[in-house]
Symmetry: C2
Subunit: 340 residues, 2 copies
DNA sequence: GCAAATCTTTGAATCGTTTCATTGTTACGA
DNA sequence: TCGTAACAATGAAACGATTCAAAGATTTGC
């Protein structure tokens, strides 16, 4: 296959000037019907496809937006990505997706790549702390929005979800359904998300004088870690058991559920109510459909694109940090009569 | 922020010719140390970043590869993507990822976008059948490799997994562990993957004169669909139950497992052995760790990139269709003493 | 039928990089 | 000291699309 047709080839083939071909593509109204037909036919016959490189060289910027996430496999990000793509499409941009896989090196590669591509801007859920890498972007004037990470409004716009509020919601829901001896299950509180969710839960518990909250630290945030915690609970005396458990994510909750249902000693939700966090697909199809806290991922993605557009348009506008409040999803595991 | 620095600005700032700056970037050996230092300093001081558009305009092609998958949320594709990215990085290319979400329109958009970007080539797991869209790519000479879809070798190179072999492996394993009354659970056999896996299972069963295979059609391929099938089985007389169940995917298998373990009437694997397909993350953390068939996703992604490289280099070489054989993963649900 | 107004079309200049033939410099052996 | 390699640096041309001032064509109004 030889080199593909250029606008010049089209112009020759249709016996018009290159400017006319360009007009057909960009300002069809300026061109007479006759000419337009001839040009379109030529385009078709030659299989002409616009060369985006030439286009954006002239324009000085591309029509793409870079999006770097920590893990495309994580349903949370998958959903954010999808929403961002749709929102970008609405404003005529396309999203280039990069997966850093929690690796700072890969992240740096994508940042460089996207800068060379002269993306309109960057959405990024950064690996680790906000470092010089990002400050550099800021200095270079690359419009940037942080995703799922609160940022100093002096420096960046950002979108995030209020984990404290989520934790409050979950605990409040357990309290509202009459539970008083609550337990929080989560990995190390050095993970910010875990700490915030716990804090929110504690805030709710303080509102009820007769309520208590026990903190159970799990080995990681997996189903298996949850099962260990569950097994430990099953061995307790009945009187020492919590009557409501809030897990820092759904995987942990599913593990706890496995332990409790397997032994058939305790019933969910009659003896123990259980609520998770994230509302993953599996939550609804657990043995006992799992109540959970759903994060507004679509809003996150959409808003990130919108904030980016603001940054692009008003170069020197103040940055904005938008925080969303998550949503309670009640299912059977916390005592709804029957659920979706 | 004004327009970013160009190679010309760097040249001025370092008092050299533009060609020299270019040489520093592309052929450092051709440039004396003194000049190189000066140029590098200028680059640093001006915060110069190569403009990829201009670069690839000159080069005639980009250093990116387009990858369009049916669903980034699907762990199968996530894993393929990751492997493809790594393999591409090794040869100095970057992957642009598009998610068609099983939507032909979105797919078409990405195909157009990637063509305008003049990607080196395209990896695509196409929506529906291989249609004119793809034939058009072929005619245009865009190197293309189909992923997870067998293709006419006259037309395309492709990488795929042998589902018939996978079905055989699963059924053969059940037979090898002494089961004789097998059941296959799957959605409609109009889905090619389901049909192939069933066919492979049937092939294995035919090898044992005293073995039988019952086909149970589920309503879709979800956990809930699996649970319906499971509930139906639990109501049968013990004598009419299968002693080995092969599910067309892990979600179905997890649903079946829920039904069986919840009632505590039958034990897995003692009464009924259970095996799924795909080896999703959840398989290992099920109540009874689930045996499954693992697809070689890393090999798929890597090989796809390699085949694409072949296509790019040898324009008129014959295409190749590479088929991988999946792998049996034995866990507790089919009677391993104890598993990972 | 003619001037003015409107609509079409033209094509050179431009974007930032790479390429490469040419020119300038240095080093070395005779 | 000179001639010649070997090495460095130069800068114009090219890539393909868009822009825009200018020219050309057509229509309108009188």
């Amino acid at each position: 296959m030889n080199r593909s047709a250029s606008i010049k080839d089209v112009a020759n083939h249709a016996s018009v000037a290159v400017g006319t071909v360009s007009n057909v593509l960009n300002y069809p109204d300026r061109v007479s019907q006759r000419t337009k037909d001839r040009v379109l036919r030529a385009i078709d016959e030659l299989g002409f496809v616009r060369n985006d490189a030439a286009r954006q060289l002239r324009a000085g910027h591309s029509r793409t937006i870079g999006l770097i996430v920590l893990d495309v496999g994580n349903p949370f990000f998958t959903s954010v990505v999808r929403a961002a793509e749709d929102a970008a499409a609405l404003q005529g941009s396309a999203v280039l997706l990069g997966d850093s896989g929690h690796d700072a090196g890969r992240e740096a590669n994508y940042i460089d790549l996207f800068q060379e591509q002269r993306v309109q801007g960057l959405l990024i859920s950064p690996v680790g702390d906000v470092t010089e890498r990002l400050d550099l972007l800021r200095e270079r004037g690359v419009p940037t929005v942080l995703v799922d990470r609160l940022a100093d409004e002096e420096k960046f716009s950002s979108v995030a979800v209020d984990d404290d509020a989520g934790g409050y919601l979950a605990a409040r829901h357990l309290l509202d359904t009459g539970r008083r001896r609550l337990a929080f299950v989560g990995g190390s509180t050095s993970i910010r998300q875990v700490a915030d969710r716990l804090q929110g839960a504690q805030r709710a518990v303080k509102e009820e004088p007769d309520a208590t909250l026990e903190v159970l630290v799990s080995e990681g945030q997996t189903v298996l870690a949850g099962r260990s915690v569950g097994n430990m609970l099953v061995e307790r005396d009945r009187g020492e058991l919590p009557d409501g458990i809030f897990c820092a994510n759904d995987l942990l909750a599913l593990g706890v559920m496995q332990s409790l249902t397997m032994t058939h000693t305790y019933r969910i939700p009659e003896d123990i109510a259980l609520i998770g966090y994230d509302d993953i697909d599996f939550a609804v199809s657990a043995v006992v459909p799992l109540s959970s806290i759903r994060q507004p991922t679509e809003a996150l993605g959409r808003t990130a694109i919108e904030l980016l557009a603001e940054e692009v348009e008003a170069q020197h506008a103040r940055h904005r940090a938008v925080v969303f409040t998550p949503e309670l999803v009640v299912r059977q595991s916390t005592g709804a009569p029957s659920a979706d």
